[in-house]
């Protein structure tokens, strides 16, 4: 797996049905493969962390970001999308 192909997606917002469905559908639409997914709800605040591999996807990074931000607007949640590389760079010696 190429580190440059993996993106980290975080989602935060008020909990309601359909958030995971909206995001995973958007990822499936662009052939992104989900590697890991975890979510919690604490006091009605929904938090999700998702790792996706874009190896087999043709999508440009910024376009993926736009699509996910659109899902974020529809669902009323805040989404960040970043290359995994920044986290491994910062937190691994």
């Amino acid at each position: 797996m190429n580190e440059e192909d993996v993106v980290v997606i975080t989602v935060e917002g008020s909990d309601h049905p359909g958030i995971v469905a909206g995001i995973t559908q958007a990822l499936a639409d662009v052939d992104a493969n989900i590697l890991d997914i975890s979510q919690t709800v604490v006091r009605e605040v929904f938090t999700m962390l998702l790792f996706a591999d874009l190896k087999n996807s043709d999508i440009e990074f910024n376009e993926l970001k736009e699509r996910l931000n659109q899902v974020g607007d529809e669902q009323g949640v805040r989404i960040t999308v970043q290359s995994e590389e920044i986290f491994t760079q910062m937190h691994r010696v």
């Binding site: 980290v8 975080t10 590697l35 890991d36 975890s38 962390l49 790792f51 990074f61 910024n62 970001k65 960040t80 999308v81 970043q82 290359s83 995994e84 590389e85 920044i86 986290f87 491994t88 760079q89 910062m90 937190h91 691994r92 010696v93």
Partner: protein, 454 residues
């Protein structure tokens, strides 16, 4: 795989604690643009900057989006203009101003807020060309918007060129007067240095100095807010505090290194250095003075401030050195007055004065930075302040810089506001005792004994 704590730590560093890449600076060598025809020379400079720099913003935008670390500024530094105008010089020449206007146009064309390198290296002596450049600084800075100028007047190897220092006081005064409508704003784009680094990405001292590649990318990280947060949450003794700052500095530097490397790849130029400086902004909490206060000092400038700053600067460097093989530039902590709202407050409340600032500059990476002083301060007094600061740099084998602003029409205790990142502050007092004879003596203060290392 990376843990959720680590991911949210990075996100909080950016979202809450103002971690950012302060600048991505593209250095360009313009020596080859020289010509005996002043117009042609200026045209060549403008063309070269546009050709090399037109993709800088786009590349920075792409990397910023991909890694989620904001890049606040995109800038250009060129090789010192004072070195390349010689062939075009006639008598009483203003070729420098033509070049400054060309630099300004190019900066506007490619969308960068500042362009540095209107510079001369005169630590040992002045050539005809560098002398001409120095003479045109006030005019160049008052007629352009984005051009920054710096002059190396001293070094550990050469000593302090007191003829140049004398001239510097006059240049500062004239620049302030020529930009008096904006509070002497021209002086905010003008720095004097001892041991000027050839790879500094920060304005006004940024230049693509001798010994560099044709073109290269340098980045400056900045995160006073991140370090302040670490200091706030560490209750331990100074050893523990130093360790905590080192770890944070490591992470910030790694982010800078990755961003710099990737922008350089996009532009197909060499990656030069990461500058590890903590550079404050007027934003609440994004303050170096506040870090020192959080270590247990009631008001920045109170006893203990120099020791606190020494620990901070050293820990930032140690963490950063571990994070990248490419450390350079100024790398340390900045203690500007107007640009750091807590420092400005320290001046207002009287805990900080210019003498204490000078003392603190012996243990950090710059010197007297963005210091507003009374408009009627004499050029000789300004020269003497520059000489003092240069002496600290020369004797301690480190960079020191001086950016003084004699605010026209204002006196000690008045306030001045430059807006935006340049901030605002109370005007500081300077000694009422004169140094006129000292500043007029001229010649060179010889290099110290420890310059003889061979």
């Amino acid at each position: 795989m990376i843990s959720s704590e680590e991911i949210f730590e990075t996100i909080d560093m950016v979202a809450i604690e103002n971690l950012d890449i302060r600048t991505v600076t593209l250095g360009i060598n313009i020596a080859g643009c020289s010509s005996s025809n002043p117009k042609k020379l200026a045209e060549n400079v403008e063309e070269k900057i546009i050709e090399k720099g037109e993709r800088l913003s786009e590349a920075a935008d792409r990397i910023e989006s991909r890694y989620g670390i904001p890049i606040v500024n995109r800038r250009i530094s060129v090789s010192p203009v004072g070195e390349m105008i010689a062939p075009a010089l006639k008598n009483d020449d203003e070729v420098g101003v033509e070049v400054a206007l060309a630099m300004d146009n190019a900066a506007k064309e490619i969308g960068v807020d500042f362009i540095g390198g209107y510079s001369a290296l005169v630590d040992r002596g002045m050539t005809k060309a560098s002398n001409c450049l120095l003479n045109t600084i006030p005019k160049a800075l008052s007629q352009t918007e984005r051009v920054c100028s710096s002059v190396e007047v001293a070094s550990t190897r050469s000593g302090i060129n007191m003829d140049a220092v004398k001239k510097s006081g006059e240049i500062v005064k004239e620049t302030a007067e020529k930009t008096s409508e904006d509070g002497g704003l021209g002086c905010a784009k003008l720095g004097f240095f001892a041991n000027a680094p050839p790879d500094n990405p920060f304005m006004p001292g940024a230049m693509h100095g001798p010994g560099n590649e044709e073109s290269s990318i340098s980045v400056a990280i900045s995160g006073p807010g991140v370090v302040r947060s670490v200091v706030e949450t560490t209750d331990g003794d100074f050893s523990e505090l130093s360790e905590a700052i080192k770890k944070t500095s490591f992470k910030m530097t790694r982010a800078g290194e990755l961003v710099g490397r990737k922008v350089a790849e996009q532009l197909d130029v060499k990656f030069n250095i990461v500058d590890l400086s903590l550079a404050p902004t007027p934003a609440e909490g994004d303050s170096v003075a506040m870090i020192l206060e959080k270590m247990g000092i009631e008001g920045c400038g109170a006893p203990g401030s120099t020791a606190a700053l020494a620990l901070l600067t050293d820990a930032v460097k140690k963490g950063g050195m571990m994070a990248t093989p490419n450390v350079g530039g100024l790398s340390g902590s900045f203690i500007p007055v107007t640009e750091d709202s807590r420092m400005a407050r320290a001046v207002e409340q009287g805990s900080m004065n210019i003498e204490k600032l000078e003392a603190m500059s012996s243990v950090c990476s710059v010197g007297l930075d963005m210091v507003p002083i009374p408009g009627d301060t004499s050029p000789e007094t300004i020269s003497a302040i520059i000489a003092d600061e240069c002496a600290i740099g020369m004797m301690n084998n480190k960079t020191t810089g001086i950016r003084l602003i004699p605010v026209p029409g204002k006196k000690s205790g008045d306030t001045v506001s430059f807006g935006g990142l340049l901030g605002e502050s109370t005007i500081m007092s300077v000694s009422k005792y004169k140094s006129t004879k000292f500043s007029q003596r001229g010649g060179r203060i010889p290099a110290p004994i420890h310059s003889l290392k061979n």
